[in-house]
């Protein structure tokens, strides 16, 4: 493609079916603590 470059794998849909185990860190978006927005978290599924 000349006009477009895709820069990642679009795998979000797939992850919905495989995910949800709940082992990753709980997240908090607030400014007042060990805040963790979701997009920068790690998945910990074994």
């Amino acid at each position: 493609m000349k006009h477009v470059k895709t820069i990642n794998n679009a795998n979000l849909k797939e992850s919905a079916h495989k995910g949800g185990c709940g082992e990753c860190q709980a997240s908090c978006q607030s400014a007042c603590k060990t805040s963790c927005t979701v997009a920068n978290q790690d998945c910990e599924k074994e």
């Binding site: 679009a10 849909k13 978290q41």
Partner: protein, 453 residues
């Protein structure tokens, strides 16, 4: 749903539902702006050719159009939103994370403190060990099959009750094996009481430590004075440096807050990084009631957005030079990262995460502490309000109307329920300025990825 934007000379299109990120040239970008995702035909429609006729030759427009159509066919542009059933199916989950307010007291008098200078308006109090132990037992029981459990020592200032912190850690460690749990401890401190022994203990036991500092000396001391009115900078900075030097590469954050008084906060981040030598930095907007003189308001958005852009430039330049500056809110995995289910309900408050006061009272999170109507239970008698838990469990990006239609929903995951409640009297109604800032950070974070390709 897509979001197309221009930043730093890049044309970026994000397909929210698939998570795809595309870099477009000008023709494709202009073309995309004219395409209706609900009616995407294989042939480039006449009105698009016409609208762009002055800028581009027809064959170039057609070419760009068919590139975009190929993305559409590959389901990475205007891809379908298939997540609502997952969101609907979501319910209460095990309690796996706890904020232990081990001290409702503080030795600083930070101006923006949401905890009323440490005591949450309830009077000074330290958590007795018996309450901490009951909290650990409560979590072991209510986490059911979950293995990884998190405990964040918080306050007030947790070092004011450090003896109890250690006993709680020892207790949790002594029972984790038999219950097949893995405890992870973190602590958030203002640094005043750090000494060598405490530093070594924290470095050994805590997987993450959050060290509060707002940046430049005058900025920090303006907002973070001690009880006697003197600034805290000179006391805490050397202690933080010693802690990080001895931490052996384990996770930490220098965490600051910016207010209307330092809208040039990229200078604070640079100060923390270049002058003080900390490469893990998180400086975040103080969300405060509108009547607080230094609170951030809607009219500050443009200045803050410009500052985030400046910061993004700095991060790009540093990374290109092989340096390690990591600004927490620009950190993002475009491949991998959390699953879509996790992203449906970012904030775990009141469901997987709760806060516990020195009295053992349970609140949905640290920001709800002290508000009677949000008290959820108590760890001493093992009570937990299932109805309230359910209300939080259901707070997904599909039950929050604004989020459902927001392109950033799988990055932000629905914002902060406590802010929503504070400003809009509903955990389901996002706080607008926070949303705008979050979206700006996501735009910058993605742009940085593109720039560093």
């Amino acid at each position: 749903m897509i979001h197309a934007y221009q930043l730093n000379g890049y044309n970026i299109a994000l397909d929210s539902n698939s998570g795809a990120v595309h870099l477009l040239d000008d023709t494709a970008y202009d073309c995309l702006a004219l395409i209706d995702g609900d009616d995407f035909s294989p042939e480039c429609p006449g009105h698009i050719l016409q609208a762009l006729a002055e800028q581009y030759a027809p064959e170039v427009i057609k070419e760009a159009y068919s590139d975009l159509f190929a993305l559409y066919e590959a389901k990475t542009l205007f891809s379908e939103d298939t997540y609502a059933p997952f969101a609907e199916a979501m319910g209460p989950a095990p309690v796996k994370s706890m904020c232990l307010n081990v001290a409702h007291d503080c030795n600083l008098r930070c101006e923006y403190c949401f905890a009323s200078q440490g005591d949450f308006g309830r009077g000074k109090k330290l958590m007795p060990f018996a309450v901490g132990r009951a909290a650990i037992d409560f979590m072991v029981k209510n986490s059911f099959g979950r293995r990884n459990l998190e405990v964040d020592f918080f306050g007030g200032e947790p070092l004011m009750n450090f003896g109890v912190v250690k006993r709680i850690v020892d207790y949790a460690r002594s029972i984790e094996k038999e219950h097949k749990k893995n405890f992870r401890f973190t602590i958030t401190t203002n640094g005043v009481l750090l000494n060598d022994a405490i530093i070594d203990y924290i470095n050994k036991e805590m997987v993450n430590v959050v060290l509060s500092l707002d940046g430049r000396r005058d900025v920090n001391d303006n907002m973070r004075p001690s009880v006697n009115g003197k600034g805290s900078y000179d006391v805490i900075v050397p202690k933080y440096q010693s802690l990080v030097a001895r931490r052996g590469g384990k996770q930490y954050y220098l965490r600051g807050t910016f207010t209307k008084e330092n809208l040039d906060f990229s200078k604070d981040i640079l100060h923390i990084y270049e002058d003080l030598g900390f490469d893990q930095v998180s400086v975040e907007p103080a969300v405060l009631a509108e009547d607080v003189p230094f609170s951030l308001r809607d009219e500050d958005f443009d200045a803050i957005a410009a500052e985030y852009e400046r910061l993004a430039d700095i991060v790009i330049a540093k990374k290109k030079a092989g340096e390690k500056l990591n600004f927490f809110h620009f950190q993002m995995e475009l491949d991998g990262g959390p699953c879509a289910i996790k992203r449906l309900r970012g904030c775990s408050c009141g469901n997987e995460y709760v806060a516990v006061t020195p009295e053992g009272d349970i609140y949905p999170c640290h920001q709800f502490v002290g508000e009677d109507e949000w008290k959820m239970g108590n760890v001493l008698d093992g009570t937990l309000n299932a109805e309230m838990k359910q209300e939080f469990a259901k707070a997904t990006v599909y039950s929050k109307q604004d989020c459902k239609n927001c392109w950033a929903k799988f990055y932000c995951s629905g914002g902060c329920n406590a802010n929503n409640h504070q400003f809009n009297r509903s955990i389901y109604k996002p706080h607008r300025l926070s949303c705008e800032l979050e979206k700006k950070r996501v735009e910058c974070a993605i742009m940085i990825k593109v720039a560093l390709l």
